[in-house]
């Protein structure tokens, strides 16, 4: 059929984003911008306690307030199925999701939603919240993952029993599940080792920090169709959630995705869509619910805090002989931490003949975690790469050389049971070894300011899944493109580029748009670094169908067989049909102009479920300067290297590498949830939950490697998640290099640095 060679005319170029102008001039409609006639304003009542039994909820006084249209609680939701499904990059049990939408008999974290109010104004809704009477019976909170795992810990869910391959435990526990990966004989492996390093690590719960809060507007038509406008990564995922929690047919629910002001995994699960829908139904008005920043921190889906232990051994020759890993991840209030993905990614880049890994998914009195860019991998990689670094140091080897001696290669069995295919861990580490940054001299300093350099190797597995793209040819030869994927990363542009390349047309010929659940084919969420890859496959398939159908139309015009028509999508004659019967040519536009007379509308449809995909290795080099009097860490230079398969739009890929690194820098140095002893979050704002600012992040250098994933038409691998995985590890290793003290905590705040040095 259509095979493109390396000679690309659209792919690899740097056109402006299709959505750029609307966003620059402030006209793009984001979730909180949706405004409907007669719309009411919704607000949510939240628990001030981290762990309590709800004795009584009485909304009578709130309902009586002038201007209040409706009050909703868990009593307005049907029972939900005790069934777990994949949503975006994580799993969701609908029974738990119901309890997390409106608390049932217990509140399980500070900020847990209890009820919602729709009113004429936001102010009235706020006042009404204060008039809902809730009586609590306080329970002891469990805030620490190891404390939660103790046999005598207070239980969040009295009926929860640890699940594992061995079955279900007899006694209830806060450990929702546990698993073990085993390879070779770890005991024998450690016996062979000349050097063994063992360390424990802790990381704080972190938030994605998207600027746009969660926002949904729900409206019911007279015929019972529910339309929900919302800021999400996956319109169809939200539709499934609303369907399950309301017990309402999928066909009667339309989810319209808005532009998204940052998501990073945090907008796969809905928090305000169902409350908005219930309030809209009860009030007979459209209802908009927008979270405040405080609510976003308290009650959306941050990433797990963790406790981890890593032990590794190696021979004097620098070969790793064994690893033993323990990963304990906070799930928050309901099961579902990304400990499995953390286990898949830790030490994925190394050949480790003997290894054992134990993973635990543990509930604590904090918000239920969600996906956050490479969920679970950043935490475990921080631990794994610190121990790798220390082993190299103990062996007197350059840390990059030590990694290369043990680097994973194709065909090698992975600890999680699979095999590496078409990976490029070696090429990535060699790119680090040869990079000017790694070879630049570093003045270390002997006074107050000490400098160091560190590296980290990172892996994320990526995803494929379902995507749908429709291309319709217009009479002027242009093409309208509709995709079911939500555009969170310039997707309209990167998908249109793949369609244009396949069609042999310029990008200007394609007008791409996001569909909704009524207009476009089923598409999984834009997550798991899947979209440019899998939706790209759908676009290529749709474009190939367009070309095939255009052959038939051209044949009808020429009165020949379609087999006698050829189309070229490459070179100077790209976009031209030729007929072998009469040697005539027609352009794509000339055939398009006659669609009306040759059969009517012409659409190409690409519906795919991509079941195989390639993971992505990346690495970071960090130079830091530590002020040993204040504990402050300043980044002097930072480099991100990654194998991306093929960079469809290199500027966007560089943006992903820089953006991921920036979030990783925040995670490494600044960001972390803080709680008091009763489980009240202390920093639910952007002043005290510290994202890095422009002054804190250096210009991040990027090096893109293009070692293709052979099963994608253009070789694309997922890009967006690997970039966050390595930075905390690289920074921690650089801090050690600067001050000679290993760091066991994230974030590495100035106070923690001073404490580690014994200064305070």
């Amino acid at each position: 059929m259509i095979t493109k060679t390396a000679e690309h005319t659209v792919i690899g170029t740097r056109p402006p984003r299709a959505d750029a102008f609307e966003k620059v001039v402030g006209k793009a409609v984001f979730g909180p911008d949706v405004n409907l006639p007669r719309m009411a304003y919704g607000r949510i009542l939240r628990s001030p306690h981290a762990h309590a039994r709800i004795v009584r909820i009485d909304p009578t006084r709130a309902e009586a307030l002038d201007g209040v249209y409706a009050v909703a609680t868990a009593a307005d939701l049907p029972e939900a199925a005790d069934r777990t499904e994949r949503v975006g990059e994580g799993n969701v049990n609908y029974k738990y999701m119901r309890d997390n939408t409106f608390a049932g008999d217990k509140v399980l974290y500070h900020g847990h939603p209890i009820a919602a109010v729709a009113a004429r104004t936001l102010q009235i809704a706020e006042q009404a919240l204060e008039l809902i009477d809730v009586e609590y019976e306080l329970l002891d909170p469990v805030l620490d993952v190891r404390q939660a795992m103790a046999a005598d810990a207070p239980l969040l869910h009295e009926g929860m029993h640890t699940r594992s391959l061995a079955g279900t435990a007899d006694t209830p526990s806060n450990v929702a599940s546990q698993f073990q990966f085993l390879q070779g004989d770890p005991e024998q492996g450690f016996a062979q080792a000349d050097v063994v390093v063992e360390r424990a690590f802790e990381t704080a719960m972190v938030h994605q920090g998207y600027i746009e809060p969660h926002a949904a507007t729900a409206a019911w038509d007279a015929d019972g169709t529910l339309t929900v406008y919302t800021t999400t990564q996956g319109a169809f995922d939200i539709r499934s959630q609303v369907h399950e929690l309301l017990g309402y047919p999928l066909s009667k629910i339309i989810v319209v995705p808005t532009e998204v002001g940052g998501a990073f995994g945090g907008k796969n699960v809905g928090y305000v869509e169902v409350p908005a829908a219930v309030l809209a139904r009860k009030s007979g008005r459209p209802v908009r619910v927008v979270m405040t920043r405080e609510e976003v921190f308290l009650a959306s889906g941050p990433s797990s805090g963790t406790w981890m232990r890593v032990k590794m051994g190696a021979t004097r020759e620098g070969r790793i002989t064994a690893a033993e890993v323990e990963l304990c991840y906070e799930a928050g209030a309901y099961p579902g931490s990304p400990v499995g993905a953390g286990a898949n990614c830790i030490l994925a880049g190394y050949d480790i003949p003997n290894a054992r890994l134990d993973g635990y998914d543990v509930v604590v009195n904090k918000p239920r975690v969600g996906a956050y860019r490479a969920p679970g991998a950043t935490q475990s990689t921080f631990a794994g790469e610190a121990v790798i670094d220390e082993l190299a140091e103990k062996l007197g080897l350059d840390p990059v050389e030590f990694r290369l001696r043990n680097i994973a290669t194709n065909g090698m069995p992975r600890l999680n049971g699979g095999f590496h295919e078409h990976i490029a861990a070696r090429e990535v580490m060699e790119a680090v070894r040869d990079h000017p940054h790694y070879n630049a001299p570093l003045e270390r300093g002997t006074g107050i300011l000490r400098r160091g350099r560190g590296v980290g190797l990172a892996y994320w597995g990526n995803w494929g899944a379902r995507s749908s793209v429709t291309l319709e040819v217009n009479a002027d030869g242009t093409v309208s493109m509709l995709m079911g994927s939500v555009d969170i990363t310039g997707t309209r542009t990167s998908i249109a580029m793949q369609a244009a390349e396949t069609l042999g047309l310029s990008l200007a010929h394609i007008n791409p748009a996001m569909g909704n659940t009524q207009t476009s084919g089923y598409s999984d969420a834009s997550g798991g670094s899947r979209t440019t890859m899998a939706t790209g496959v759908a676009a290529v398939k749709a474009a190939e169908e367009v070309i095939a159908k255009m052959h038939e139309r051209a044949a009808a015009i020429w009165v020949c067989e379609p087999e006698q028509v050829a189309y070229t999508n490459i070179g100077p004659d790209a976009g031209t049909f030729t007929c072998s019967r009469n040697d005539e040519t027609m352009t794509f536009a000339e055939v398009a102009a006659k669609l009306g007379g040759t059969g009517g509308a012409l659409r190409g449809q690409g519906d795919v479920n991509v079941r195989r995909w390639g993971g992505a290795f990346g690495a970071n080099i960090a130079d830091v300067e530590v002020d040993i009097e204040t504990g402050s860490v300043r980044l002097l230079r930072f480099t991100a290297v990654q194998n991306v398969g093929k960079a469809i739009r290199p500027g966007q890929v560089e943006g992903q590498l820089r953006g991921g690194a920036t979030q990783g820098i925040g995670w490494g140095l600044y960001e972390g949830y803080a709680y008091d002893g009763q489980g009240h979050m202390l920093n639910a704002n952007f002043l005290d939950y510290k994202l890095p600012t422009a002054l804190d992040v250096p210009a991040i250098e990027t090096e893109i490697l293009e070692i293709p994933w052979p099963e994608h038409p253009f070789g694309v691998r997922g890009v967006g998640e690997t970039p966050i995985v390595g930075p905390p590890a690289a920074i921690a290793n650089a801090v050690y290099d600067a001050i000679g003290v290993r760091q066991g905590f994230l974030p590495m705040t100035p106070a923690r640095i001073l404490e580690s040095m014994g200064i305070i």
């Binding site: 204040t630 402050s632 600012t693 001073l754 305070i760």
Partner: protein, 296 residues
């Protein structure tokens, strides 16, 4: 939570005083609003009338007189303060403080007077005003008066203004010869942050530029109010202007500080940083007293 307020923007101090007096406890002066509006939104402060002071000419004026010093209107934005050539030349610690409040956009609105009246223990403009010997000019129903800025704040978020009184201007004396000042704060981030500990220092050297003739030190975020480190400053008088003296002053400042531990900093961290930041602020003040330029 109340989202609706009355708004008045008088042209004269007398009219503003009258509005504030008549408005009672629900009337609040408004300058840049970068603290007040956020506090109202979060229910931390209440108001039913905002009296905007920015249209009163005296409150938006900056006047430097070599014989009389600086008169800084209470509603002058931090950005204008930090950019003002006379302030940059003569009151560098104030430039240090006004130049790091919030971020660049916030400083176009936020005022030094507002920073003082917000009376936060971590207010970045307050320790510089204290070490520069500033006085606050207050207008009220009974006329006007001046009080030292060092006694203006009486608790977290609390100051000594009575109902109907307002801050009109800040008066800073002419700089002594061979003097220099500096304010430094410690924050995890480079900007858009709040002091974990801040230290302002002012030094006057003898004619040899080797000994300290006079000194003042003030600290932020280590007590319920911006704190004068009197013992440390007094100890410095007559001492050599060198790192040993400054280190000892830092230790004495630590004894004065009464920090708490909270989400922004642990107690041991704050105590430790008082020593470090005091020493570094003194070093900065010394360099400026000697006529050297340091990064603001």
């Amino acid at each position: 939570m109340n989202f609706s307020y009355g708004y008045r923007a008088p042209d004269t101090i007398a009219e503003a005083v009258r509005l504030l007096q008549e408005g009672g406890s629900g009337a609040r002066p408004l300058a840049g609003g970068t603290d007040l509006l956020v506090q109202l939104r979060h229910g931390i402060r209440q108001a039913d009338l905002l009296v905007d002071l920015k249209r009163i000419p005296e409150l938006s004026a900056v006047r430097y007189d070599p014989a009389d010093g600086l008169t800084l209107g209470a509603a002058v934005p931090c950005a204008d303060v930090a950019d003002h050539p006379d302030i940059r030349a003569h009151y560098p610690a104030l430039v240090d403080g006004a130049g790091i409040i919030g971020g660049s956009a916030i400083r176009q609105r936020a005022t030094v007077g507002g920073n003082l009246c917000n009376a936060s223990p971590s207010g970045d403009a307050i320790p510089p005003l204290i070490v520069l010997g500033a006085e606050a000019e207050i207008a009220g129903p009974n006329g006007s008066c001046r009080v030292p800025v060092s006694s203006f704040c009486v608790g977290p978020g609390l100051h000594l203004l009575d109902q109907g009184e307002m801050l009109v201007a800040l008066h800073l004396p002419i700089p002594s010869p061979r003097s220099g000042s500096c304010y430094l704060r410690f924050t995890p981030r480079g900007e858009m942050d709040i002091a974990v500990v801040g230290a302002a220092a002012w030094l006057q050297l003898d004619e040899s530029l080797s000994y300290i003739e006079d000194a003042r030190i003030a600290l932020s975020a280590v007590a319920p109010v911006p704190l004068v480190a009197e013992t440390a400053a007094t100890w410095l008088i007559g001492r050599p202007a060198d790192s040993e003296s400054f280190a000892q002053a830092g230790r004495l400042a630590q004894e004065t500080a009464r920090p708490i531990g909270d989400v922004r900093g642990t107690l041991p961290q704050r105590l430790h940083l008082v020593g470090v930041m005091t020493r570094r602020a003194l070093q900065g003040a010394l360099r400026r007293a000697k006529g050297e330029t340091i990064d603001g």
